[in-house]
Amino acid sequence: MNAQDPTLGADHSNDLGLYAKRKSVFPRKTDGPFRRFKWAVMAFCLAVYWGTPWIRWNRGPYAPDQAVLVDLAHRRFYMFQIEIWPHEFYFVAGLLIMAGIGLFLVTSAVGRAWCGYACPQTVWTDLFQHVDRFIDGDRNAQIRLQNAPWTASKIARRVFKWGVYLTIAFLTGGAWIFYFADAPTLQREFWTGTAAPVAYATTGVLTFTTFWLGGFMREQVCVYMCPWPRIQTAMLDEKSLTVTYKHWRGEPRGSVKAAAKSPVPLGDCIDCLQCVAVCPTGIDIREGPQIGCITCALCIDACDQAMSKVGRPRGLIDYCTLEDAEHEEKGEKPTPILKTIFRPRTLVYFAVWAAIGVAMLFMLGQRSRLDVSVAKDRNPEFVMLSDGSVRNGFTVKLRNMEDRPRKMELALDGLPGGAIYTDEMEADEAKRLLALDVPADTTRRLRVYAVQPRAAARPADFAFTVKATDTEGGQDRAATTFTTAEGNGQ
């Protein structure tokens, strides 16, 4: 019942429940440019999702050869040529911000295109609906089967269909784990039962969510669970493209026969309900823009087919902005589509989006692949040696982010008369410059002692510098201090 229900005032029985029972949706098969576009997007998305972990990428002997790999165990993120260390996570944050602004951009330009075509919920729901049609037949056959009693044949069909659901769900959930480990190895381990428990758990959880959300929840995810439609409602303005039923053209609706009999001229809508039949979320677009409309445009395909059959102009349902709808209603000319898309708002979004992208690319090109950091011992701050010289201990970390071992020089900058040695050397081997090997893709941790002779020992600021001695070079420095008894009240 809805709010206009005349019985509501009369009897006070509370049947306007908070809970609306789901009406099953059995979208009819359709064809047309938007359907074909959806096919293409779906094929692309699924191919990217299933194929990406299997792309190989040669990074030499010291790094994995998987093109896209989130190596949580070793805290590395590989994406083709780019390798991200944990301290560079802001690149990932930047990508997320770009994805967010990208959604704003797409929404303000072409409405809920993400919802209609690329959202995983849409893609997998679409896939499962194809499975429904393939196994149970088209819309009418599905409705018949739904209402039929539970005979052996129905049970067999249901079990078979849910088995197909489960297979797709398993392939979906199983594919996810390949992003986190070497795909061929993990696949072998997975089937031989030697993979990590978390791989099986992840596969299990994602198989279940895919089975449940794609096979059964479907449009309810979009309508009830997803926050994005609510945000998009705020993102849309009068210049955003939405799927619009041109009611000024369609109303009053009536079949061709009814129009022939009617004393007043009827609109173009022949009330064939094809737009409702094909809708994957089961709404009636003729009621106007609504949260259930994911703007997949299948109703446009269906309506255009119907209009062609009855010889009326196509586009009764069409992508159209709210502003254009008003113009058209008054008989004015609509704004050209390019002018709608390239308006200040979308250009600003694009500028921000592109600026972040360019800035990140610039930073990727500029980022240092070696790094030195120093932590001074704080207890004891200094050690007096028997000859009166003073020693300070430091923990020095040399970070080599290249996928190959590098030779580096660790040297003192400042600290006149001072010398350094590591705990792997003898004290009398102390020098001002140490040549060191740093293994590939590793942070090498060193205990470094700096010593100042008795005569020169006094507190000082100085720095450790590191320089790669291979052809590519690169350098870094870390400032620290030298402490002696002087100024320590000792």
């Binding site: 029985s13 509370n14 207890n379 004891p380 050690v383 028997s386 000859d387 020693r391």
Partner: protein
């Protein structure tokens, strides 16, 4: 309740209470909530049966699972011990001199020693092993008895001046002033000499007198030039490091009364593996010396005279 009635707007019965005209509808609890509530009750009953739950006079009921927090801790400790058993066995089977041959084993021993040091040693030697007056700094390169890992291990195992331990470190400096071996003036002269050889004072007449007294009384242990003797634990007097202090007042007290520092014999208190680990840790602090090949001993420095027990 007297005032129960069916509410017009909703058709639901009220609970019967009324506060300034405000009434409450008697809507039933949501069923999922109710079932969750019942499930919680069932769970709670089961919990009280299998786990310690109900407080009695002396302790709580035991519970059929026999779970205790102490038992859980013991299990975890056992698991932790088990996970370390391999390393401990390897360390037990390796002599301290050989620990360095396996960097992984040495690393493990040092980390184990670091933990044991925090429990057993910091009270005297400090958290950074920097020592204090009377307690040697373990980071530096000055050792009373020797700084190679085996010697450190020996010192740790048998302690310093531990009665009943034949191998304990035992140095015995006479209390020159208190026992009347030297007069107060002679003590001052010896102190002058020691301060000269350690570079803290310029040569003086007192120091020259002291040099003679030093040669007669002190060189047996401390060496002709104050270079010390690790065989008897006599500290080097010509360096910059003083266990009790190198100023005149402290040195005077040291020569007058002597110093008798002690350390427990850790071999009697800790298991052999932990003592080895402690030796490895102390050796790793920056002052550790290489294991000597055939015969040890070393000594440089100038002058000659008597003095205390600087480490």
């Amino acid at each position: 309740m007297a005032n129960k009635r069916i509410d017009d707007a909703t058709g639901v019965e009220t609970v019967g209470h009324e506060w300034d005209g405000i009434e409450e509808l008697n809507n039933p609890l949501p069923r999922w909530w109710l079932w969750t509530f019942y499930a919680c009750i069932v769970f709670a009953i089961g919990y009280c049966v299998v786990y310690p739950a109900i407080p009695m006079v002396k302790s709580a009921t035991a519970g059929t699972f026999g779970w205790t927090s102490r038992g859980a801790l013991a299990t975890e400790m056992k698991a932790a011990d088990a996970s370390r058993a391999g390393l401990r066995a390897a360390i037990a089977a390796t002599s301290v001199e050989q620990l360095g041959a396996d960097p992984k084993l040495l690393r493990a021993a040092i980390e184990g020693g670091r933990a044991a040091f925090k429990v057993n040693c910091v009270q005297c030697h400090g958290a950074g092993a920097a020592g204090a007056k009377g307690y040697p700094n373990l980071n530096d390169d000055d050792w009373l008895w020797g700084g190679d890992i085996a010697t450190i291990h020996q010192t740790l195992e048998h302690g310093v001046r531990q009665p009943g331990d034949d191998a304990t470190r035992m140095s015995q400096m006479p209390a020159f002033g208190r026992d009347g071996i030297l007069t107060a003036a002679q003590v001052q002269d010896v102190v002058s000499h020691v301060r000269v050889i350690s570079g803290q004072e310029k040569p003086s007449a007192s120091a020259q007198r002291g040099a003679k007294i030093f040669a007669e009384n002190c060189v047996v242990c401390h060496g002709a030039n104050g270079e010390g003797n690790r065989m008897v634990g006599a500290p080097k007097l010509s360096d910059a490091i003083w266990l009790y202090g190198g100023d005149r007042a402290t040195l005077t007290e040291t020569v007058t009364n002597a110093r008798y520092g002690v350390m427990p014999a850790w071999g009697a208190r800790l298991d052999p593996v932990t003592v080895k680990m402690l030796a490895a840790y102390v050796h790793s602090l920056g002052g550790g010396e290489a294991t000597p090949a055939p015969a040890p001993q070393a000594a440089p420095a100038p002058a000659a005279a008597a003095a205390p027990q600087a480490k």
